[in-house]
């Protein structure tokens, strides 16, 4: 009996620990980049069989909490940590952008063919409830030659807290002072108007079913579901069609990214980085090596996985800066 039990324990622990002397890393956080993270960790394991990285997509908030409580080796977030949040951590975290995601403006306006064009200010006013009809002069001004109906605008937004909402509101806060003071940017906000739908499909559902509806969804989602989405005016005054290439280009051109990688891109298309949060000090030498090796791999080989999985890869300048930051992990 005893031998059976101990044999069982040995077998169990072998199952849990994987190969002998392997390095286990545990992370948790954002759900938006979870598909590419899972792929990366799996691929990395195939190439480096001694390193097993486990990732729990529990949400950005959960990832930051887990970092604060020290229950994970690294976190992940769609929203850079605030100074207050960083202050609560024993070890200062470093932000490593991994890929870019973009939001698009999708709408349901029968009778209008071709992509509509919006300037940032107009989008903000629509989501503030100040522009309530589709034939508003401000929308017409951006879309010369398009015959706009007098339909009421129905705003659709995410009801669940999400990085998508943060990216969108962060953009609106930058283009509209009024949005910044009245609403602000977070993973969920107090919407002045509109209907909330859960996840991308919830918003898409409202937009598809409601004539005159307008909402925002992830670029990936809009592409996969063949939804109409708008061109957005960038800081240079040009209308840009959202695509993976234009997102990376906008990120490349953006001068807004802070030295510690916290911050986002003001330019259209509406897009943002998503971050891995890595402690700046790692006591365990083996663990430190595993993490820094992985980061190096992610910035080079890993980036090739971005587009097939519908994320925009990092611009070269950011990759170069991040490589320097890896050395800052002590």
């Amino acid at each position: 009996m005893k031998t059976i039990i101990s044999a069982g324990i040995v077998a169990l622990s072998a199952l849990c620990a994987g190969p002998a002397f392997g390095q286990n890393l545990n992370g948790a956080g954002a759900t938006f980049p979870a598909p590419i993270y899972q792929k990366w960790f799996q691929e990395y394991k195939t190439a480096h069989s001694s390193v097993q990285i486990n990732y729990q997509p529990i949400g950005s908030g959960g990832g930051i909490s887990a970092m604060t409580e020290g229950t994970v080796d690294f976190g992940a977030s769609d929203m850079p940590m605030t100074d207050e949040q960083i202050g609560k951590l024993k070890v200062r975290p470093l932000h490593f952008p991994t890929v870019l995601g973009a939001d698009v403006i999708t709408y349901n306006l029968p009778g209008v063919s071709g992509a509509l064009k919006f300037s940032g200010d107009t989008i903000a006013n629509i989501f503030l409830g100040k522009i309530a009809k589709w034939n508003d002069p401000k929308i017409a001004a951006d879309n010369p030659g398009v015959k706009l109906p007098s339909t009421d605008i129905v705003v659709a937004h995410r009801s669940d807290g999400s990085g998508t909402t943060f990216v969108f509101c962060d953009y609106l806060s930058k283009v509209s002072p009024e949005w910044k003071s009245k609403v602000g940017a977070s993973t969920s906000v107090t919407w002045p108007v509109g209907l909330g739908g859960a996840k991308n499909d919830g918003v898409a559902g409202i937009v598809k079913q409601t004539e005159g509806a307008i909402g925002y969804v992830e670029l990936v989602f809009a592409v996969q579901n063949k939804m109409a989405f708008a061109d957005v005016k960038n800081a240079a005054g040009k209308f840009v069609t959202p695509s993976f290439a234009s997102v990376t280009a906008a990120a490349q051109a953006s001068k807004d990214l802070a030295a510690d990688f916290r911050g986002s891109i003001t330019n259209a298309p509406i897009s943002s980085y998503t971050w891995l949060l890595i402690p700046s000090q790692i006591q365990d030498a083996a663990k430190k090596k595993a993490i820094t090796d992985f980061l190096g791999w992610m910035l080079t080989t890993g980036q090739k996985d971005a587009e097939p999985l519908s994320y925009a890869p990092l611009p070269a300048a950011v990759v170069a800066k991040e490589k320097q930051q890896i050395a800052a992990i002590k």
């Binding site: 949400g59 909490s65 807290g161 999400s162 859960a198």
Partner: protein, 321 residues
């Protein structure tokens, strides 16, 4: 464990062994019962501890504030309490007459064969996961509401503040209707059981006194099964209060208080499910946990009221008898 004194006495050995078994069973089952209590206590403790930052900051004002702003970290529960109560009450208003009526038909009036088939189907319906009902609601109920039901309500009853404003489809009303659909299998199932336990003699006595079939059912059988029927209603109410997925898919998730049933709203369970994963600040999380506690208390209060109602009506019943 066993009492040695009893074991020494000849002849009583088997009795003592039996009573030892009884004690053991008593202890074990008591442990199980206490485990349930312990879970409830732990739940309250955890909710209390994790909601303390919000309790300290907002105090009782949390219950009456209508502000819900994660950006400025200001939180209030009133729109969610309102949405939860309104949708649950709506659901019961629709589901109770339907459910009790159907239960009466199934237990009293339907042919036995038909009754058993229908009962089976009802029980099947009760086992459908709520997210399936949510999908049903999104793809059929919401377009129906927007296209036909809400415009019709506005046209006929639009003079009431209850039926004003634009018809988006997603609304308190849609949530109430889908909750009614979800609760009424429970009401039918439990009410039917209660009606079936009414002794045959009761019906026969009523019929012998010259009552018609309907009079005997409505005036004798239903009052006799009153407790069970009430129980079914509160079971349904409990499901309606705590339902999350199906509600969030059709209620519009708008944290405001609107008199119109056609307006979008929000419920406690829905906001917790929607916002918890991405709640990034401690105060935000704590406010969501406090909302959980409010829902818990709301359920306790409503259950308490239910108990009182049962006690009061039972007394009345016995006095009349």
């Amino acid at each position: 464990m066993g009492t040695p004194a009893a074991a020494i006495r000849p002849g009583s050995k088997s009795v003592s062994r039996l009573s030892g078994g009884d004690e053991l069973a008593r202890a074990v089952t008591m442990l199980f019962a206490l485990a349930v209590l312990a879970v409830a206590a732990l739940l309250i403790f955890e909710l209390w501890i994790h909601s303390s930052p919000a309790k300290e900051k907002f105090g009782l004002g949390f219950l009456s504030s209508t502000l819900w702003n994660p950006v400025t970290n200001e939180f209030g529960a009133l729109p969610f309490i309102y949405g939860t109560v309104v949708t649950s009450v709506l659901a019961l208003l629709i589901a109770v007459p339907l459910g009790v009526g159907a239960a009466i038909y199934l237990s009293e009036l339907a042919a036995p064969r038909l009754s058993s088939i229908l009962t089976f189907l009802v029980e099947l319906l009760a086992a459908v996961p709520s997210v399936i009902f949510g999908l049903l609601a999104i793809f059929t109920l919401v377009p129906l509401m927007r296209g036909y039901i809400e415009p019709a309500l506005k046209k006929t009853l639009g003079f009431l503040p209850l039926f004003t404003g634009p018809a988006y489809g997603v609304s308190y009303l849609a949530a109430g209707v889908i909750l009614a659909v979800m609760t009424f299998p429970f009401i039918i199932s439990v009410s039917r059981e209660a009606l079936l336990t009414v002794p045959r003699e009761q019906r026969e006595a009523a019929l012998a006194l010259g009552a018609t079939k309907w009079e005997s059912t409505w005036q004798v059988v239903v009052p006799f099964a009153r407790l069970g029927i009430l129980g079914s209603v509160f079971l349904g109410l409990a499901r309606a209060l705590g339902e999350t997925m199906a509600v969030t898919m059709v209620i519009g998730n708008n944290p405001g208080i609107h008199a119109s049933l056609l307006a979008p709203g929000y419920t406690i369970a829905a906001v917790i499910a929607n916002e918890f994963a991405e709640a990034t600040s401690d105060m935000y999380r704590s406010a969501l946990v406090e909302l959980g506690m409010v829902l818990f208390l709301l359920t306790i209060v409503i259950n308490g009221l239910a108990r009182i109602l049962i006690v009061v009506t039972t007394k009345k019943g016995s006095a009349r008898a």
